[in-house]
């Protein structure tokens, strides 16, 4: 199946449409809430929470014995929240650092979850097959009701984010200030954490425990490179997340044996790499170009300064000098001299150069910050 065929099928094939819609909505909500996680320096919270959700799924199954997605997800939500708040408690009450706390919750909850899962597998009722889809995720098992749930959660999250926009923003950038203004930062904090956990739990079924953290992080990290405004970043991250979902599904649908979750993550990672390199203000490419440009500019000014030193010893500044006397000074090339002529700093006449008045004043004011440069 080729990509164009995929997009044709998208409008006709029911299953493919459901899955694509699901992954794009998931990408969007993860991007939106992930922005907050990244800016709060809780990038790896997603990793810990997604692992911590596993025992909840197993316990929910053990209690109800049913494989209803919503009940399992409720279990995941509860144990994810316990994990999230235990991490906070550990960091604030003991001297264990956040990395240790995250790693502990991640591995201990997950190991306990594994114990329960293998225990369930040995149980006589054969109803349990399919629980391990939460480990690696299977976008193919998405049905309409799952997608509806995702849309619903996204809508609620969107409303809450819009309602508490000011509070969220304040908490992100200046918690102490938020405190002094009388906001209950604890409640706002819990609200954000709750929605991040919710987004993770929703995504488990599609991309699985391991890759969930990337869904949360990658769109936000990519969006961060293009803007410094929170609103734009959240919007961009949602967009990038949504696109990663659609493209990932498209690519995995067009090839045999390509699981959707990993492909979505790789597409999102691709967006991150592109953003890292090509973002106009923060990107590595333009940063490098700016660096080279500045270096050249500095070189030019250094030459000018050297010429100024020579010209100062003569009575009239436009007294011509041979280029040869610049030879002691290593910072000039034919190209840079021509560039200086273009700037009207010097006049070149065969093997001679002379400083113009413009060049002279430029050099004079080189260390004077008040001078306006073009």
């Amino acid at each position: 199946m080729s990509i164009t065929e995929y997009f044709n099928l998208l409008f006709t094939d029911y299953t493919l449409r459901t899955i694509s819609l699901g992954t794009s909505v998931l990408g969007a909500i993860c991007g939106m809430l992930g922005s907050f996680a990244v800016l709060r320096k809780q990038s790896l919270l997603g990793d810990a929470i997604s692992h911590a959700a596993l025992p909840g799924i197993a316990i929910a199954f053990l209690i109800t014995g049913a494989k209803d997605t919503n009940i399992l997800l409720l279990g995941a939500l509860v144990s994810g929240l316990i994990g999230a708040f235990w991490i906070r408690g550990m960091i604030s009450k003991t001297h264990l650092k956040s990395d240790t706390a995250l790693g502990l919750v991640l591995s201990l909850f997950f190991g306990f979850g594994m114990l329960l899962l293998t225990y369930i597998q040995k149980q006589p009722n054969a109803n349990q097959a399919g629980l391990d889809k939460y480990l690696f995720g299977q976008a193919a098992t998405l049905v309409e009701s799952d997608v509806l749930l995702m849309v619903l959660v996204t809508a609620i999250a969107l409303v809450v984010v819009l309602l508490f926009w000011k509070e969220f923003k304040l908490l992100l950038f200046d918690q102490d200030y938020a405190n002094t203004l009388g906001f209950n930062t604890r409640v706002i904090d819990i609200l954000i954490t709750f929605f991040i956990v919710l987004a993770i739990v929703i995504g488990l079924q599609t991309v699985g425990v391991v890759l969930m953290s990337a869904m949360l992080l990658a769109p936000a990290a990519a969006a961060r490179q293009w803007t410094s405004s929170l609103a734009v970043m959240v919007f961009l991250a949602a967009l990038i997340g949504g696109f990663s979902g659609v493209f990932g599904t498209a690519i995995s649908a067009t090839q045999n044996n390509l699981s959707t979750g990993p492909v979505i993550v790789l597409v999102a990672s691709f967006f991150v790499v592109v953003s890292f390199v090509f973002s106009p203000t923060r990107g590595l490419l333009f940063k490098q170009i700016r660096l080279i440009k500045n270096r050249r500019d500095l070189q030019l000014k250094k030459t000018l300064q050297f010429m100024y030193g020579i010209a100062q010893t003569h009575e009239n500044i436009d007294h011509p000098h041979t280029i040869r006397i610049l030879n002691n000074f290593q910072g000039f090339t034919k190209k840079s001299l021509r560039k200086m002529e273009e700037n009207q700093w010097i006049l070149l006449n065969k093997q001679q150069w002379s400083l113009t008045l413009k060049g002279f004043t430029e050099a004079q004011n080189l260390f004077n910050q008040q001078t306006q440069h073009e």
Binding site: D47, T94, A214
Partner: protein, 386 residues
Amino acid sequence: MSSPQIEIQIIAALVAVSCAIPGVFLVLRKMALISDAISHSILPGIVLGFFITQDLNSPLLIILAAGTGIITVVLVERIQKTGLVKEDTAIGLVFPALFSVGVLLIAKNANDIHLDVDAVLLGELAFAPFDRFLLLGIDAGPKAAWIMGVILLITLSLLYLFFKELKVSTFDVGLSSALGFSPAILHYGLMSVSSVTVVGAFDAVGAILVVALMIAPAAAAYLLTADLKKMLWLSVFFGVFAAISGYWLAHWLDSSIAGSITTVLALVFLLVYFFAPKKGLLSVMYRQKQQRTEVSLLTFLLHLNNHQETQERHINHLREHINWQQVKANTVVGLALDNNLITITNEVISLTTKGLSFTQTALEYIITNKDDKIEHLKDDFFLFRG
């Protein structure tokens, strides 16, 4: 106990010890999550190594996969150095991408390889004794035990040789580089040891248990002691204890060995987390409560000291004035009475000579803010603590 059972326990204990040692340093250096990242991102290395060697236990595969682990660390550092994202974001970006590559490699070549993501992530210790190591045609025990034994031997000898350097660079990077130990070499040395350990252990116990065995014993030990050597011993003890008792839990429940070892680790950590003598949750909360009462007591005494008028020192007025609840006021007044800092006559509170000198010393501390004033204050004046 049958011979495979003993072998499984030996392997589990070997893994536990070889994970605990680098784990201590990772936790102390605030790099615990690197172990998680490595344990996931070695997947493509393992798959590629498997394509080449066709043997999950070949040393070449271990070296290749450990190489991927190092690449992860280097990538994370590179990304972090660009300043575009924070360190944790860098970790979170690198390992899922590498893991995805590994998953897709497996999925694409599912017919050619006997490798399964479940197995890498979760491991199956129960099968470890089936893979025998043949030395000159004689059965010399399970291969996994030999691999982990060699890794442990290397780790132990490196620890013995570079203990001093590791210690200094862990607690004071500046001092260690001033003394001429290269922090970079030690850093990458530690990372290499961690990678090799993770790779060696993944086949036996799976990636997640490796993370648990690295972090949990070290974290529990860290709550119990502040001495590096004791911490190493304690975490080795916790690791081995969890490995052996976890095996029997799995035996009893008929479930995953890796899962039950982790569960025992979780129980051990919880126990320590709640009940550690000085740094445990309960003792921290008790201490905080004690400190709150003692600070209130100080405020109360300073207030008394400020007011000579009887109506200001009347017991009912005080409650109003400092705005305390009944219970809290009772606690504070009771504590002050117990310590002979105040006397109450006709419902008017006055400072005793002892209370007066306590207040003076405390005031002096507040004004000069010198720590030596407060050090002995509580010991000198308090018969009972809050």
